[in-house]
């Protein structure tokens, strides 16, 4: 992974796309390395799909540079199309064709004829547990089955780079796990994956990820790095009246966010003034604030997760946007 330049498969600089007055993608700089699963994490409307479409050459950037697999996009988009796969958010195969017919169609489109096409399709049907569904019309499949067909179609021509736009949004948890196993199997063969999602557990599986918020890249790195780089510790507050405690901590100094999780509160804090041991400082400060409001609470540090990162990152974006 250290071969530096050669191993970067996606590189953008200042990538911006406007739709009229709205800026969907705002000066995004990306570096995606070969063989990794790179995640786009962000709420709806954060620019995930638009960014993926820009990278495929389906949309023209308003400004900024894009290089994908060493090709300049959008100028060399046609050359890219032979080497990339794209799994759209919405099922984009034909509902009125069977699974087998759809895949043979895609094989022909990619230049595989007759026995070559059939052999590759057989292979994929086997790989993605679709053999029994071969004759079934795609329109009658379940969400999970559709995803597998769509994935099979997207990787049929063995692309080096695969874009997946919210691939599991209509899929049950078990199918999602299976689906991710399939994705990791692809990376083992050297395929680079760019996956957009709004599920934290999916984002956590990525090698690296970018958090997008209102078209801007607000944080990026490996999930571990992102969690380690939180501004302060994450605390769990257990008390009899979590709603009241939330009221107290909302907008309290040193508190970034307080969210109720069941009977407890998950509190994201900022770094304390004394750098030395800020976890205990923060625990102390939160406890005091709650005591002052006559709430008896047990406060303890817990492992941060990606959701914490997401909340902090998107909050930062919001506050910097607020007019001063």
């Amino acid at each position: 992974m250290n071969n530096g330049e050669r191993d970067i498969v996606i590189r953008t600089h200042g990538l911006t796309r406007k739709f009229g007055a709205a800026t969907a993608v705002d000066h995004i700089d990306l570096h995606v390395r070969r063989g990794e699963v790179y995640g786009f994490l962000g709420p709806n409307g954060s620019g995930k799909s638009t960014t993926i479409r820009l990278l495929c050459g389906l949309l023209l950037p308003t400004s900024g540079d894009i290089q994908v697999l060493g090709l300049n996009i959008p100028a060399q988009a046609e050359a890219l199309k032979k080497r990339m796969g794209y799994m759209t958010q919405k099922f984009s195969l034909y509902d009125d064709l069977s699974v087998g017919e759809n895949l043979i169609f895609v094989a022909n489109i990619h230049g595989l004829a007759n026995t070559h096409a059939r052999r590759r399709v057989d292979e994929l049907l086997e790989l993605y547990w679709l053999r029994e569904l071969r004759e079934q019309l795609a329109g009658t499949l379940s969400g999970g089955q559709r995803q597998r067909v769509a994935l099979a179609a997207a990787v049929l021509h063995k692309p080096e780079l695969l874009f997946l736009d919210e691939p599991t949004s209509a899929v049950d948890p078990q199918s999602r796990r299976d689906f991710w196993d399939s994705l990791f199997a692809l990376t083992e063969q050297g395929t680079t994956l760019l996956v957009s999602t709004h599920y934290m557990d999916e984002a956590e599986r990525c090698h690296r990820l970018a958090i997008l918020d209102r078209g801007r890249l607000v944080a990026d790195g490996s999930p571990r790095e992102l969690m380690d780089n939180l501004p302060g510790p994450v605390l769990l507050v257990e008390c009899a009246t979590p709603r009241a405690a939330q009221q107290v901590l909302h907008n309290a100094p040193g508190v970034l966010a307080a969210a109720q999780i069941g009977a407890s509160l998950r509190v994201l804090t900022t770094a304390s003034d004394t750098d030395a041991n800020n976890t205990s400082d923060n625990i102390e400060r939160i406890s005091q604030q709650l005591r002052a409001a006559n709430i008896d609470a047990k406060v303890a540090a817990i492992q941060p997760n990606l959701e914490d990162v997401f909340v902090v990152a998107t909050r930062k974006g919001a506050s910097s946007e607020r007019p001063s």
Partner: protein, 368 residues
């Protein structure tokens, strides 16, 4: 090249499969031409007959009654009303109860002996163009023929009418060939007009444009299956025309099918062009209909081409239906050959290629 043909084949096969599964569309491919031909073939009769008419006979003489009887025999007018005053007659006309009225003046007998005076007045409903034409024809032919014996000296011109190609003046002979064009227009343009939009609405296009598929391959792949369907429809109409309406093909069947092929291609290309200009299937249908009426009205199918003002003629020269109507009438009824009508073939081909070219240029593999 090989890969390109393979992609074209893939699209054609896919279209045929989808069409085959879509029972309703499949039924319409056969049902529409059959029903339309039966409907229009029997209904459209540009020979006007049995017009509801009123009679105002102020003369009431033997001659006047004979005149009415003779006009009645021609079956153009059906004198349903006998009125006594012009007021009554005008009321009937205004209400649309009658299309025409015959007024015999009180001094009918005197007028008969005057060579230069009109003897009777025929009032027609001018708001209906075909009635107007038919009545005018009657006024010049029937009545003068009748009066030839009574009137001296006869003013009747010695014009004899020879009707080439359709001596019995049978309507289907005029309508059926044109109907091939009209029916093909209605089905072909629509098929491809919604083709690309449907793929866009279903999300298929977003996948297709990320593959090496080219716009030309996609457009041709959508057109080719429907060329086959258009030719099946043409065959069906010709067979029905022959067996039901007794409309023969005097000229070369091969030339006729080449003309149909070019016309189908031109209509499909127009549809593909429409498809690249719209965002929804509804818009596609609206725009298709927008092209139907001018084509049908200005092509010479309904009204004589020569009678239209020059700018309308120039406009009509652009429409593929205009050229097809000339071709199909020429080949079917006048035994015209390729050599006689080559320019019409070229015009159709030029239209098709231009439309397809513009459509392919307009269709870029992007979403914006």
């Amino acid at each position: 090249m090989r890969a390109s043909l393979l992609r074209l084949y893939a699209i054609v096969l896919k279209e045929l499969r989808q069409l085959h599964r879509d029972r309703l569309s499949f039924a319409m491919i056969v049902g529409m031409p059959v029903i339309q031909l039966l409907l229009f073939g029997f209904a459209i009769n540009l020979d006007v007959r049995n017009l509801d008419a009123a009679l105002l006979d102020n003369a009431q003489t033997n001659n006047s009654r004979e005149l009415v009887a003779q006009i009645g025999q021609a079956q153009v007018f059906n004198f349903r009303y006998q009125v006594a005053t012009e007021t009554e007659l005008n009321a009937l006309l205004r209400a649309g109860r009658i299309n025409a009225a015959l007024v015999i003046p009180g001094d009918f007998e005197r007028r008969l002996s005057q060579p230069n005076e009109p003897v009777v007045q025929l009032i027609v409903d001018g708001s209906d163009q075909s009635v107007q034409g038919a009545a005018r024809q009657l006024a010049s032919l029937q009545i003068t023929a009748l009066l030839r014996e009574r009137r001296t000296p006869a003013l009747v011109g010695q014009v004899s009418l020879a009707n080439y190609f359709n001596p019995e003046r049978r309507a289907p002979l005029n309508t059926v060939p044109g109907l091939i064009g009209v029916i093909l227009t209605m089905t072909m343009v629509m098929f491809t007009a919604i083709a690309l939009v449907r793929e866009r609405e279903h999300g298929n296009l977003e996948f297709l444009i990320t593959t090496p598929l080219s716009p030309l391959e996609l457009a041709l792949g959508k057109v080719i299956p429907f060329i086959g369907i258009g030719l099946i429809q043409t065959t069906l109409i010709l067979l029905m025309g022959y067996f039901i309406f007794d409309v023969p093909v005097h000229g070369s069947l091969f030339a006729l099918f080449i003309a149909a092929l070019l016309y189908i291609f031109a209509s499909l290309a127009l549809g593909i062009f429409i498809s690249t200009a719209v965002q929804t299937q509804f818009q596609a249908m609206q725009l298709s209909f927008f092209t139907f009426l001018p084509q049908i009205l200005l092509s010479g199918f309904m009204f004589p081409f020569a009678g239209m003002p020059k700018p309308a003629q120039w406009l009509a020269e652009i429409f593929p239906l205009t050229h097809f109507i000339r071709l199909v009438r020429g080949i079917m009824l006048r035994s015209a050959s390729f050599g006689d009508l080559w320019i019409e073939f070229v015009a159709l081909l030029a239209f098709a290629v231009a439309m397809l070219g513009v459509a392919v240029m307009r269709f870029h593999k992007r979403l914006d």
